[in-house]
């Protein structure tokens, strides 16, 4: 089961290490992790996606909660939250018509197009993982030279602590 966990942590050195070391030492899996500051400079938000069965997921949340540097741990309901990932893909351009085809795809997916060259083009997309995977499938034929993904970033819908 793919799950999104949103964790508010103390914004200080070593906390990311504690979180990732917890996953390592207890044999849990991190699919993606994104970290950034929040409206409160004292805390950061980490968004972690993981593949785990219900029992393990339960343990992950409790073990995260047990860490003294975690302020709040929430399992996000996909339907009741907004979650996005930013991805950049450098795509190979082989023949001149490729550029037109790739930019058409980019428009259909509401991507930004950067660094258009004779031999390559960079697409930037912010979307759900499903949409990103769909785009990736479509451009794979041209050849993906390089790719960078930020990992999921997410917030629960509605007012704070409502869900």
């Amino acid at each position: 089961m793919w799950s999104i966990i949103s964790v508010l942590v103390e914004n200080k050195p070593g906390v990311l290490f504690k979180i990732t070391n917890l996953f390592r030492s207890r044999n849990y899996n991190i699919d993606s992790i994104s970290v950034g500051i929040t409206e409160n400079p004292e805390v950061s938000r980490m968004t972690i996606t993981t593949e785990a069965d219900e029992k393990q997921l339960n343990q992950i949340i409790k073990q995260l909660d047990k860490l003294i540097d975690t302020v709040e741990v929430k399992l996000l309901d996909e339907k009741k939250s907004i979650y996005r990932e930013l991805v950049m893909m450098k795509i190979k351009v082989t023949k001149p018509t490729d550029i037109k085809e790739i930019t058409d795809l980019a428009n259909a997916f509401k991507c930004d197009v950067h660094d258009v060259r004779k031999s390559s083009i960079i697409l930037e997309i912010t979307a759900t993982p499903d949409r990103i995977n769909a785009l990736e499938d479509l451009v794979r034929g041209y050849g993906i030279l390089e790719m960078a993904r930020t990992g999921i970033c997410a917030l629960a819908r509605g007012e704070r602590n409502e869900s």
Partner: protein
């Protein structure tokens, strides 16, 4: 406000926490701390190895229920206490370990005696601090003691760079601290306790499983009330040994790999268990899937992360075990529930207990472990503190040494650290000097920290080492006999050294006892003389610890002595 150094503020902060004793070893990177220790009222106990210092602090912490303090220098000094920290973490023991670190400007430059002790200990501490300015130290100390001693206790590390110890600043001592992400006490949910009570009352074959949490929270009286009101038999985990008087008619003793036969048997026949302060370790319950079959589990624990970790629970009560049990006792009294113990289950329990106590075969050797330990129980005052090392002798202690006074038995049960028992006994003696302290030891384990004899003698912290000497790493030898077709390797210690002479070399008393009668007399001599004594008891190297639940099997598959 007067400017004071980081080291001075550390000492003041420790004194404010009520620290009057610390165990440790000085070195280059903690000399400023030691210089302030010289000027303070805190008693310093000089260990001969940092690992032993950490075990002493652990033993002190378990017995006094206040964090034991140990000091080590940077690099190897710090890495030497890693085993002690891991031991304290595995057994939820309150400890504050304070290490020196290379000066802050040298961190990360692979300086002499630099080790990343914060990184190394991350998975085995409850929390770790590295103050980078002297002004942070009082708050760090206050937080460290708060974290180490509250909720589920554990070890906290404070790693202080040398320049932070030396530098001076205006220092403020906070009277209280708040930690946003730490909520150690949760009030138990009354509704869940009601559900638990109903489940326990409607069970046909209920049993209580008492773990180490009962000892940590001193829930002895509450546990006994529930057992007696409902006439429910009590088994314990090994860590929970002594949470319930083992001479009580309802006591069946510890379950587990080397649990009592009657305890394992009744555990497997029960239909509902009230587990108090237990984490369902594999050594206690065998295979997880088999254990929970046909069993309703009520789990009370202070640590929410223990709920559902190893066992699926039917009712979970998160909170201090003493508080939860007290509420349950009140509910039972309000409902005027008092049972008389004439149920079919009570009869079955009594029959089983009588059967195994009368019919289990005893090892034929004149110094069989059971005879030796029963003699020890006879002569050792009931309130004495007993620690153990790790190995066969430890499991024999579990089987044959009855703990009568709750909370007087301590062992490295989680990590299984050989060499723990002796320094821990010294720490225990420091915590309650008026009570006899005895370490039930094997020579393989004792060998690992025997240089603490110097500490015990010189610091006037006399303890008795009751050495079951089979000249062998006995537990490993037993597994090689049992599982490896008697291919014995790496287990023969060949009667070296002579422990009577070792004791004497350190200025302690060494007595060799070769009969049951001599053993009794030796213990009495040690108790009377009140000096550190090693009683060397040559036992049979061929004796196995039985019953035995082999690893990866169920309590149902218990192997009995034949």
């Amino acid at each position: 406000m007067e400017k004071i150094s980081g080291a001075r503020s550390l000492m003041i902060a420790l004194e404010k926490e009520g620290v009057d004793i610390a165990f440790g070893l000085p070195g280059g990177a903690n000399l400023p701390i030691y210089d302030e220790l010289y000027k303070s009222n805190i008693r310093h106990v000089l260990a001969r190895h940092e690992q032993s210092a950490s075990h002493m602090a652990d033993g002190y912490g378990r017995v006094s229920r206040r964090p034991g303090v140990c000091f080590a220098t940077s690099g190897p000094g710090a890495t030497n206490i890693v085993t002690g920290i891991a031991t304290a973490q595995a057994d939820s023991s309150p400890m504050v370990a304070i290490t020196g670190q290379v000066p802050s400007k040298m961190i990360g430059r692979d300086a002499f005696q630099e080790s990343d002790i914060i990184g190394i200990t991350n998975p085995i501490v409850k929390y770790a601090f590295q103050p980078m300015t002297p002004g942070e130290i009082p708050e760090v100390v206050k937080k460290a003691f708060y974290i180490a001693s509250t909720g589920r206790p554990g070890p906290v590390l404070i790693d202080i760079p040398k320049d932070v110890q030396q530098n001076e600043a205006d220092i403020h001592f906070p009277s209280e601290v708040k930690i946003r992400g730490y909520h150690p006490w949760v009030d138990p949910d009354i509704k869940e306790i009601e559900r638990a009570t109903e489940m326990l009352l409607s069970a046909e074959r209920p049993i209580i499983l008492a773990g180490g949490g009962v000892i940590i929270s001193s829930a002895f009286a509450e546990l006994q009330s529930i057992a007696e009101l409902l006439m429910i038999p009590v088994v314990t985990t090994f860590k929970g040994k002594g949470s319930f008087p083992e001479n009580h008619p309802l006591s069946l003793g510890p379950i587990g790999m080397h649990g009592h036969a009657e305890a394992n048997k009744m555990m497997t026949e029960a239909d509902c268990v009230l587990a108090c302060g237990s984490r369902f370790s594999d050594r206690s319950v065998g295979t997880f899937e088999e254990f929970e079959k046909n069993l309703k589990i009520i789990h009370m624990d202070v640590d929410p992360a223990e709920i559902g970790k190893n066992q699926t629970t039917n009712v979970a009560v998160v909170g201090d075990v003493k508080t939860s049990l007290r509420i349950m006792v009140k509910m039972l009294i309000q409902k005027a529930i008092k049972r008389n113990g004439e149920s079919a289950w009570s009869k079955r329990v009594k029959e089983t207990k009588d059967y195994y106590r009368e019919n289990l075969k005893i090892h034929p050797h004149p110094l069989a472990a059971s005879k030796v330990l029963k003699k020890l129980r006879e002569v050792l005052p009931g309130q004495s503190i007993v620690t153990t090392e790790v190995g066969q002798h430890q499991m024999w202690a579990s089987l044959f040494f009855d703990v009568i006074h709750p909370g007087t038995f301590f062992s490295s049960t989680g990590l299984g650290t050989m060499g723990w028992g002796f320094p821990a006994a010294i720490g225990a003696k420091a915590a309650i000097p008026d009570v006899p302290v005895l370490d039930i030891a094997g020579e393989g384990s004792f060998n690992m920290t025997e240089n603490s004899l110097a500490v015990s003698v010189l610091e006037d912290l006399p303890v008795i080492v009751f050495l079951l000497n089979n000249f062998t790493l006995g537990m490993v030898a037993q597994w090689q006999r049992t599982f490896y077709d008697r291919r014995m390797i790496g287990v023969d210690l060949k009667n070296c050294p002579d422990y009577v002479k070792v004791a004497e070399a350190y200025g302690a008393q060494g007595i060799r006892a070769t009969t049951i009668d001599e053993i009794g007399k030796a213990v009495q001599t040690a108790l009377k003389s009140n000096i550190t004594t090693v009683i060397d008891i040559p036992i049979d190297p061929q004796e196995d610890v039985l019953p035995f639940v082999a690893p990866g099997t169920s309590l149902r598959d218990m192997i009995l002595p034949s």
